[in-house]
Each structure stands twice: as C-alpha cells, then as structure tokens.
Amino acid sequence: MDIFVQQLINGLVLGSIYALVALGYTMVYGILELINFAHGEVTMFGAMVALAVIGVVLGVAPDLPGLLVVLAGVLVAIPVCMLLGFSIERLAYRPLRNAPRLAPLITAIGLSIVLQNVAMLIWGRQYIAFPPLLPKGQYEVLGAHVSNLQIFIVVLSILVMLGLWFMVQKTRLGRAMRATAQSRAVAQLMGVNVNSVIAATFVIGSALAAVAGVMVSAYYGLAHYYMGFLLGLKAFSAAVLGGIGNIAGAMLGGLLLGVIEALGAGYIGDLTGGFLGSHYQDVFAFFVLILVLVFRPSGLLGERVATRA
C-alpha cells in the first residue's frame, strides 16, 4: 500500500511535467498536423538557460533567497524559449508550409539534432547539477513521502494548465486558434492571419516547455544537453495517449503516463520476480504508445482516427 501511494504521487508529479510538454506537441499538431520533434529540445533549453541564469545570479548575489534565484532563472528561460519556438516555426517550418508532409517531419528531426548539438557546444557534455535552492520539506501522506518541490510542481502545472485552458476557450486568440485548427482556409475568410496564429501557438507551447524544463531539472537535480530527447518522446507518447490535437487529452495523457510509468517502475521487480528492475521505467511510455496505436489510434479523447502516423 505504501509503495502504491508513493508511486502514485511520484507519477502525478512526473505526469504533470509530461502534460506541460505534451501540450506543446498537441497544440502544434492540432493546427499544422505536424509533429514538432524539436519541442523536447525547447524544454531542454528551458532547463539549460534557467541553470545558466541561476549560476550567474548565485555568483553575483549569493545571499538571495533560493526561491528568488530559481524564479529569476525561470523568468529568463521563458522568453528565451518563446523566442526559440518562434524562430523554429519562422525559419524551419513556415518555408515548408505547402511542402509534402514528410519534409517538415524530417526537418523537425534534423532540427532536434541541431539544437542538441548547439546546447552541447554552449554547455558541454557533462551533467549540470541543479543547486539545492528550493526550501526543503517533507510531509507524510498515507504512509508516503511528499516533498515541497513535488507539491510545488503539481500546483504550478495545474495553474499553468488552467491558464492555458482559459486562453484557448475564452479569448479571441484562443478562438482563432481553434478555428484555424478546424479549417485554415475558412479561418482566413474570417480575417484571421493564420501565420500569426501558428506563430502564437509555437510561442505559447514553448513557454510551457520552458516551465516544464526547469521543473524536470529541479526534480531530478540535473540537466543535460540530451535530456530533451527522452522527455520529448515521452511527452509525445502522452499526447498520442490522450488523442493528439486534443488539449484536454494532452493533460490527461500526461498525468496518466506519469502514473503508469511510476507504478510500472514500482511493481515491475515484484511482478517479474526481480528479473526486471525499476530502471525499466522508460519502457512503459513506449509500451503504452504501442498499445494506443494498435488499439485506439485516436487516443482516449481523440475524435478522428489519424490517417497517417
């Protein structure tokens, strides 16, 4: 029972991070039917930029409260990632707007590799430690441990997602995004500048990715130029699980995937008599991806069945 509750909590924490990243995949797919494989790298840049800023701030003002230092990192990482997302769309995808579908997909994969290498050149190959700045604190809940950081991650994710939901459902831009996703041609007939809406989608998704990047590096205590790859693939799996293109689906898929992964890691040892250990954690996301693609390709909340992968 203890393990179950503990893993459930761990899963929700991880899942809320996946959800934030998955939203970026799903919003872009909803409008462009493009899987922006470079999105994981935007998340990585969020973590890296925040850590760089944190390093500088600590060097200048070592006595600042830890929370403020991290906040400074986040507040720089968000606009940097927004600019990165904007540039990715403008330079890599927009010229291919009317190209065959395979071209932007290959471009996305190439871009992902380019961004990894740029990060490696800037920050090196080594793991970068996330300094222990956030206030420690642990609580007991039903026999499981919950840390301040875990609560913070879940609460902040929920707030960000509520904000996004409000933006998409209630604002003029959100309505234009939904209209553009349903028909680009008709949205133009309404006077919507579709290029601006697409750019806004990338920028918003990248802001969420920046937040997620800082969260994941704070949670695991480190960052690395390659961290965006696996995180991106898992978030993509989460988006597919929820129904790619569907915003509520990305939130649900992210949380579910986190929980599945954590429970899987917690019990795989017992289930296989110790043959497989918790380091097989990463397998679950892709196992789920395969199951979804075989049995319910439209995802949990998806309406349309994808005609192409």
Binding site: S183, Q188, M190, G191
Partner: protein, 237 residues
Amino acid sequence: MSLLAVKGLKIHYGGIQAVRGIDLEVEEGELVCLIGANGAGKSSTLKGIVGLEPHTGEVRYAGASLRGRPTHRIAAAGVALVPEGRGIFPRLTVAENLAMGAYTRRDQAAVRADLDHVYDLFPRLLERRQQTAGLLSGGEQQMLAIGRALMSRPRLLLLDEPSMGLAPLMVQKIYETIQRVAREGVTILLVEQNAHLALKVSSRGYVMESGAITLSGPSAELAADPQVRAAYLGESI
C-alpha cells in the same frame, strides 16, 4: 466605379484550366448571380477573388487591386465569402462561430447589435447558440454560415451555392433572407447551380460554361433566353 471588377481572371489546377480569363463586374448595391453547371468554374472564381486560389488577371475591389493581398486582409476589407459546403467550424459553438465572423471588428457595441440582428434573421440560431455547430442540420448550418458572414458587416457578400443539399422549404427561407440582406444594402455576388432561383432574385446574371462566361445580361432577359432555358432551366427546345 464598380465595387468588384474582375478582368481576365485565370485559374488552373495542374494542367486543367478551371477559369479561362473571365470578366465580370458588380456595382455597389447590386445582387448579381453567376450560374452554370457543376464544374463550370464558379466556385474557383469566388476563391480567386478572395485570394484562396492562385490566379492571374486582375481583381479590383472598391477601386483597389487585390493583387498579392492575403485572404485575411481581403476579408478584413469587407469581402465575405460563404463557401460551398458552408465551411462552419464544426467543433465551435454556434455563438463562437458567429463571434469568428466579427473577428476583425473592434466596435463591440455594434457587434452586439449585429448579433441581435442575425438572431432576429435566424431565430433558430439563437435557440441553438450554445450547441456545437457540427450537430446542426444542413439548413441550420447554412443559416449559420450566412449569419457568420453578416457578422463581419460585409460590403461585398459572395455566396457559393447556398441552396445546395437543402430541402425546398429551407431553400425558400434562405433565399428570403438573401433578398432581405440585399435590400439592407449589402452587395451580393451569388453563385448557383439552381439557375431558376438565382435569376429570380438577382438583377443581372452571368452564365459560365467550362471556365468561360458565355452569356450575361439582366436576369429577366437571361431567364427568357432559349439557350439558358434549355441548358439550365430544364426546358426542351
């Protein structure tokens, strides 16, 4: 000066010439129809005018050339196209669809007044305003598409086959509304396969055949023309 002047408009898809250099004009306040058989190039012509289809030739609106102007700016300048098949946003509610019609407008008070006007024209839309548009019947969707176009306060309204696929009673209702909108001063270019209806409500007409305009003139004359009667009004010679 005409509100809309099209000169030598050509559109082709791959090797197929859909529109072969047509001329047409619509004066301010007119209701003009463009009739012809399926595949004659009528829809392509409308898409060319609003810049949704690449074309050569000249399209002038309110005296200015639309060359190179993106569709969203043509729409913002007061040209509203109700596309063939209605083009509603199926997963937005009725109210949200109507709000999209007023997307470029900033005069919120006037937008609210126009919304009341649209609900007055189509009380059915008021009843269903919170419903997802994809769940509406074909006729209701056509009402929504026209209502949405009116929400932009268009100076020029382009209607593509508003009667298509609708029950006769609904067609009558839609056409009454089109006439009412025309009386309120909106300039309309109406594309129809149903020549009988289109010639009845319009003052002038163009007949299009395989991408070219073969006849034009006052609608009453066109309706009396033996060729038109034979080809489009279902009469034998």
